[in-house]
């Protein structure tokens, strides 16, 4: 019952923001951040990691499902592996007050590296992945982060190799810090 109430409270808080566009004054700053993210996505470390991810997951990860992924703890070694590889270290190097979250996906939408464990194991079919895989930049609506309670906007850019998108890099930007 209380869980339901909490959910309702959160829904009431989030619904007014759902689909709400960015303030016109903030958009140029988001655009500037997108350019930075594109530069990150073009980094050889990122490209190499996506190429490795595109080669196929290994071990338990090859059979990873969404439910299984959701049950895994953040401190699970399998999950921690995605936060300690070369691409994750690169992303950590770019972390700032503005960049609240970031994850790198292979062409099939499965994860290659991330700062924090994302909710979904695979983003295939999601606009934040499909748009970059189409060679486009994607910008999501303003939403509230569950853990921090702060407004953020997600942007994604393609990871390009040989002129073709091979994966996507999603970055969550904190609006309050952008301001």
């Amino acid at each position: 019952m209380k869980i339901l109430a909490t959910t309702l409270v959160l829904a009431v808080a989030v619904l007014p923001l759902w689909g709400e566009g960015l303030d016109a004054a903030v958009q140029p700053k988001v655009d500037a951040q997108i350019k930075l993210v594109q530069a990150w996505a073009a980094d050889p470390v990122i490209v190499a990691a996506v190429k490795t991810g595109n080669a196929g997951q290994t071990g338990d990860l090859a059979t990873m499902t969404q439910d299984k992924w959701k049950s895994l703890s953040i401190l699970d070694p399998a999950v921690r592996g995605f936060t300690k590889n070369a691409a994750a270290e690169f992303i950590k190097g770019k972390k700032s007050d503005v960049v609240s979250e970031s994850f790198l996906s292979a062409a099939d939408g499965t994860k290659v590296a991330f700062l924090t464990k994302p909710t979904n194991w695979c983003h295939k079919g999601k606009p934040k992945h499909e748009e970059p895989m189409a060679g486009k930049t994607w910008q999501g609506p303003v939403e509230v982060d569950d853990s921090t309670g702060l407004q953020q906007v997600q942007v994604s850019v393609p990871v390009i190799d040989g002129g073709k998108p091979i994966g996507s890099l999603v970055v969550g930007l904190s609006i309050s810090k952008l301001n």
Partner: protein
């Protein structure tokens, strides 16, 4: 049976009191120590448990804070570190609870529940279920934490109550022991007080007798001080008079000394003058001899002059004869010329020439006669003068003889004067020597007078010191009397009223100003009480007596027991 003296009895009483006091102090101290040790142990245990409870509370609060902090973390590294810190904090909490299982058993049960809830929250956080984690934290873990804190608080209250109960029982036991000890001590103290009461009665009796004796003695001291003061005053006055006489004597001696010195100087001067006079007499004697020799020479010369005068007289007579002859010739010539003139007149003119010649011759004859008469007169005058010269020479010779005689007498006189001057010189020398000796003697007398003056000064100072000492003695006698009165009051409890025995002495003692003598003061090796009142040092026994006793003085008590108060 040998009786103990009062001092020994007092010492015995004091010793008994001291011993009892020491025993009481030791007993009370032991009791206090035991009570304190037990209370300290109980308090220490309570404090330890309290400290432990606060540590547990702190650890639980830290853990709860860490869990709450975990809710806001997303970074896996930060989450991993936070989870590790939380696990360490939980382990520490468990260790703290395990350190006193008996006291915190209920708290430990509650904490296990809390730990499970915190674990559940962490699992939700690690799975990324932030909303569920937050819900579990606030709905479950927070309540378990509250229950844990409440239980811990109750446990602490229970511990405080138990400690208070134990301390109260210890306090009651200590009070019982204290009362027991105090009762025993009171009995012993009562015995000692009875002994002290008897001793006090004896001491009062003895002190009454002693105070009466001391009062009488103080009266005697006061009388003696009075006589002493009078004698000292008289002595000071006599010394003052003596000093004044010495001052006059000294002044006279100084005058005599000055006169003697002047005499000696005059004698020296007279000696010099005598020497000069002797030298002058000797010189005069020499001159007299020289004059005598000169007189002899003059006498010889006068004799020769007399002879010359005689020869001149005879020559004058011969010249006078010659002049008479010339005068006769001139007379004859005149006569002849006169005859010739008569004859020439007779001759007339032929004889005119002749007449002129006859006149001339006659004139010449007259002139010769005149010259002869003049010469004769001159010669006669010269003869007369020669005669006078001879008379004078004779007189001179006579006078020379007289002068020679006088010179001879004068020589004798000069010799006598020289001899007398020599004697006078010797006498003056003796006078000078005597004056020097006299001056030395006067100087010695002066020194002696100076020493006598010092002694007199010293005597005067001593007299003044004695007077001050007498005054001090009198003051101390008064003080002694006051002490006796105080002692009597202490002994009898009644204030005795009387006048101070020596109160009238002080005005009789007159402080004499130091005797001043005109000469500069000689440095003294002894006391120097010249200025002001001489310092008087009180006797050691009186030095520490109270000076201001506002107690009524007792009536002097008659002669009592003298000597030792040994009973």
């Amino acid at each position: 049976m040998k009786q103990l003296s009062i001092s020994r009895r007092l010492m015995l009483l004091l010793g008994a009191f001291g011993l009892m006091t020491a025993l009481a102090v030791a007993g009370f101290t032991l009791l206090l120590r035991q009570s304190t040790a037990r209370s300290t142990a109980v308090t220490a245990q309570a404090m330890s448990q309290q400290g432990l409870s606060y540590q547990i509370l702190e650890a639980m609060a830290e853990n709860h804070g860490r869990v709450q902090q975990l809710l806001g973390l997303k970074d896996p590294d930060e989450l991993e570190a936070a989870v590790k810190a939380l696990e360490a904090g939980q382990k520490k909490t468990l260790d703290l609870l395990a350190s006193d299982r008996a006291a915190f058993a209920q708290v430990q049960v509650k904490y296990e529940t809390l730990r499970g809830a915190e674990h559940s929250v962490i699992e939700e956080v690690l799975r990324g279920n932030a909303a569920q984690a937050r819900e579990k934290f606030f709905e479950v873990a927070a309540k378990d934490y509250e229950a844990c804190m409440t239980r811990l608080h109750e446990e602490r209250k229970a511990m405080e109550a138990a400690t208070t109960t134990v301390l109260a029982s210890h306090s009651a036991e200590a009070r019982r022991k204290l009362l027991t000890q105090s009762g025993g001590l009171s009995v012993v103290m009562a015995c000692l007080l009875m002994f002290g009461w008897r001793l006090k009665a004896q001491i009062v009796r003895v002190l009454s007798t002693a105070s009466a004796t001391v009062a009488a003695t103080s009266d005697q001291i006061s009388d003696s001080a009075k006589h002493f003061a009078a004698s000292s005053q008289s002595l000071a006055e006599e010394a003052s008079h003596q000093a004044a006489s010495l001052e006059e004597t000294s002044a006279s001696l100084e005058e005599i000394s000055a006169m003697t010195k002047r005499n000696a100087e005059n004698a020296e001067h007279g000696k010099d003058l005598g020497t000069q006079a002797r030298q002058s007499a000797t010189a005069g004697l020499g001159n007299l001899n020289e004059m005598t020799r000169t007189l002899k020479t003059i006498k010889a010369a006068v004799n020769e002059l007399q002879a010359a005068v005689g020869e001149m007289q005879s020559s004058s007579q011969e010249i006078s004869k010659i002049i008479k002859t010339i005068d006769e010739i001139a007379f004859q010539t005149n006569l002849l010329a006169l005859n010739a003139a008569v004859e020439a007149a007779r001759a007339g003119e032929s004889g005119a020439g002749f007449a002129v010649v006859a006149d001339e011759v006659r004139a010449l004859a007259q002139r010769s006669a005149q010259a002869a008469r003049d010469t004769s007169e001159k010669i006669e005058a010269s003869v007369k003068r020669n005669e006078l010269g001879g008379v004078a020479s004779a007189k001179v010779v006579t006078s020379l003889a007289e002068v020679q005689g006088t010179a001879s007498s004068l020589e004798q006189v000069f010799q006598g004067i020289a001899a007398q001057i020599k004697s006078l010189d010797e006498l003056i020398a003796e006078i000078a020597t005597a004056s020097k000796e006299q001056s030395q003697g006067i100087s010695e007398v002066n020194i002696t007078v100076s020493q006598m003056d010092k002694v007199t000064q010293s005597n005067a100072a001593s007299a003044e010191e004695n007077a001050s000492a007498a005054e001090e003695l009198n003051s101390q006698a008064v003080t002694l009397h006051d002490i006796v009165a105080q002692l009597q009051q202490v002994v009898t409890g009644q204030a005795a009223a009387t006048g101070h025995p020596g109160a009238t002495i002080a005005p009789q003692i007159t402080k004499h100003a130091p005797v001043k003598v005109s000469r500069p003061p000689q440095p003294s090796q002894s006391r120097k009480p010249k200025s002001g009142v001489p310092a008087v040092t009180a006797a050691p026994g009186f030095a520490k007596l109270p000076q201001n006793l506002d107690l009524p003085l007792p009536e002097p008590v008659g002669q009592g027991h003298r000597g030792s108060t040994h009973f």
